[in-house]
């Protein structure tokens, strides 16, 4: 990175920290620390919800996903607007009516203390570990691309935000997320504009779209149903709906965002606006990836985007064979450069026959290039069996670091930090609120002064921040970290959603039946994962259904009466 990039990076991060500290000023109580005195307007709630969901990996990985697999990943979000409607009808009015700090407080009012404590504990385990891994995932990519020390990158990625999160609580988190998102959207817009700007002079946005479409990168909608295909309209609508419902309805890192709203109306507006903007936002981020794909048709792409990994293989016995494959890949890239120009010219002249021929030739060359790349990946595995041969997360940042002008590179790296900070800050705040409200205050010390609870809340924000950084320092050897986070979520999300589903929709079922149903369901979920009977993605749905079924089976044997809220 150039000096200008460093100035932009450090200035951007400093501004955010100072802004967070500035927003932390004034007298505080536990209510202001965790709920922001329930004073937030809907647009702050909206930006806080988006800032919490959009992690660093969202901005790093999504363009790479479009580069490799096309834009169909956007379908994954189709269930989200539907989940927002269900949340507004069911979850939001009840949470506000009961004036809860955390989603799990509601479970004691509806069921009993043990069900509340169980669900809060499941959340703390899952969110604590996955936040640590979320710190490590972008750190690994940045340290690999820029040669930074991984441990220091982890410290900065997870450490600096602790300053304003501990000091200001949810209010500082929400307001910094607002400024962070403004910078993130501005930077991503600039990056998208630069991709098109860097294409050859005779290739405009329209031509780039046409080329990208012909290369099957604009496959936004896939209507064919296939159980083995993760991204089609049906899995997006159904699977995405349940995933969004469990994430926004039962995960305190999100529930804590819309509980800060000054009324039910503001909470609902924040969530509904999220339902309106989320899908177009993901579409635009993926479109950047589709444009980066076109860019690398005109300009040579490396055979593997994680250059550090590539360099390691070059220094092994497989080095000469890799060099040969890189040479072949380069020759094919030169052919593709000529062929894509022919395709663009045919499309420009509306010559359908010539365009079809040019597309066929270009696709054949691309397939040959992919075959050469597959050989290179196989070599990498030979050289280092532990090597991660998935470079999707490196594609966009490789483009940024090697092609964008000075200053903009620093801004894009800052965006990765800000995106990480937004979601980590919300996670720390929710971990602290759940620990203090659902565990400490409820089980150990219910009669302390407000000042004591505020001190304890700040202490737990700090403790969880340190815990997550420690997890991050040990997470680098776990393989694909995105998958590890998803696996962790699948162990607990389904059971947690099942408990809330029983709470909201099966009023005749009581706490004891639900508690033991959840314990049994969790045991089955973990056993199924251990025996590798089904893909972990299905464990969410299985866990949810099992809680309901087990609770229904146990209820007749329990004397306790069901309660309603």
């Amino acid at each position: 990175m150039s000096s200008l990039d460093w100035v932009v990076l450090i200035a951007t991060l400093t501004i955010i920290i100072l802004y967070g500290i500035w927003k932390s000023r004034g007298k505080q109580s536990m209510e202001s620390y965790f709920l922001g005195n329930q004073s937030m307007p809907w647009y702050i709630v909206l930006l806080s919800i988006i800032g919490t969901q959009a992690s660093a990996i969202t901005f790093i990985s999504a363009p790479g996903q479009a580069y490799t697999d096309g834009m169909r990943f956007v379908q994954y979000y189709f269930g989200l607007p539907l989940a927002m409607v269900v949340l507004c009808i069911t979850f939001v009015p009840i949470f506000h009516k009961l004036k809860v700090y955390t989603a799990y407080e509601f479970l004691e009012k509806r069921f009993d203390l043990k069900t509340r404590t169980l669900t809060a504990s499941l959340f703390l385990i899952q969110r604590g570990l996955s936040t640590g891994i979320s710190i490590c995932a972008p750190s690994i990519i940045l340290s690999s691309l820029l040669g930074w020390n991984l441990y220091w990158t982890n410290m900065i990625m997870g450490g600096l935000l602790i300053i304003y999160t501990v000091a200001g609580g949810t209010r500082a988190v929400a307001y910094t997320q607002t400024l962070q998102l403004a910078i993130i959207f501005g930077g991503m817009f600039l990056a998208g504009w630069m991709v098109v700007h860097l294409l050859p002079a005779d290739i405009g946005f329209k031509q780039a779209l046409q080329v990208s479409g012909k290369m099957e990168k604009l496959n936004v909608i896939v209507t064919k149903f296939d159980w083995n295909d993760k991204y089609n309209i049906w899995s997006g609508l159904i699977g995405g709906f349940f995933l969004a419902l469990s994430y926004f309805g039962t995960d305190q890192s999100q529930v804590g965002r819309y509980l800060t709203a000054k009324s039910v109306k503001e909470s609902r507006m924040g969530l509904l606006m999220n339902g309106l903007v989320k899908v177009p936002m993901q579409f635009l981020i993926l479109l950047i990836g589709a444009m980066v794909f076109v860019f690398y048709l005109y300009f040579r792409a490396p055979i593997f985007f994680n250059e550090a990994q590539l360099a390691r293989v070059r220094n092994t016995a497989q080095g000469p064979a890799l060099a040969q494959l890189e040479s072949q890949y380069g020759q094919l890239a030169t052919q593709k450069q000529q062929q894509v120009k022919q395709l663009a010219a045919a499309l420009e002249q509306d010559d359908a026959a010539a365009a079809a021929t040019a597309k066929k030739v270009l696709k054949q060359t691309d397939e040959q290039a992919q075959a050469v790349r597959a050989e290179a990946l196989s070599l990498m595995k030979k050289a280092d069996p532990a090597a991660d041969t998935n470079d999707t997360n490196y594609i966009f940042l490789h483009f940024v670091v090697n092609n964008l002008p000075k200053g903009l590179v620093g801004l894009l790296i800052a965006i990765i930090f800000l995106a990480a900070w937004g979601s980590i800050a919300a996670a720390l705040n929710s971990l602290a609120s759940t620990t203090v409200i659902d565990i400490y205050q409820r089980l150990y010390n219910g009669n302390a002064t407000p000042e004591h609870y505020l001190r304890v809340s700040r202490l737990w924000s700090l403790i969880w921040g340190v815990f997550c950084i420690v997890v991050a320092q040990f997470a680098s050897g776990l393989g694909s970290l995105i998958e590890v986070v998803n696996v962790l979520g699948s162990w607990f999300y389904g059971v947690t959603l099942g408990i809330f589903m029983v709470a909201f929709y099966l009023k005749r079922l009581g706490g004891t039946a639900t508690f033991w149903g959840a314990i049994a369901a969790e045991a089955v979920v973990l056993a199924m994962y251990g025996t590798e009977q089904v893909s972990f993605l299905w464990l969410n749905a299985i866990g949810c259904v099992l809680v309901v079924v087990f609770a229904l089976m146990i209820q007749p044997f329990v004397k306790q009466k069901a309660t309603t809220v």
Binding site: Q38, V74, F78, P81, L82, M84, V85, C88, I89, V92, P93, H96, K97, L209, Q210, S212, G213, K214, E216, L218, N219, V220, I221, T223, I233, K262, S263, V264, K265, R268, M269, L272, G275, L276, V279, P280, F283
Partner: protein, 42 residues
């Protein structure tokens, strides 16, 4: 909160049902537009 959930009128529309319908209609519109986008550029 000053008012109960049922008393709060949504902005722009007389009831929340209109907002829910708008969100669902917007999703349907996006899916249709994305479908046309996919077909146009494939």
């Amino acid at each position: 909160m000053a008012t109960g959930p049922e008393e709060e009128k949504p902005p722009l529309f007389p009831t929340w049902r209109y907002w829910y319908a708008l969100v669902i209609a917007w999703l349907v519109l996006l899916i249709v537009l994305f479908y046309l986008f996919t077909k146009t550029y494939s």
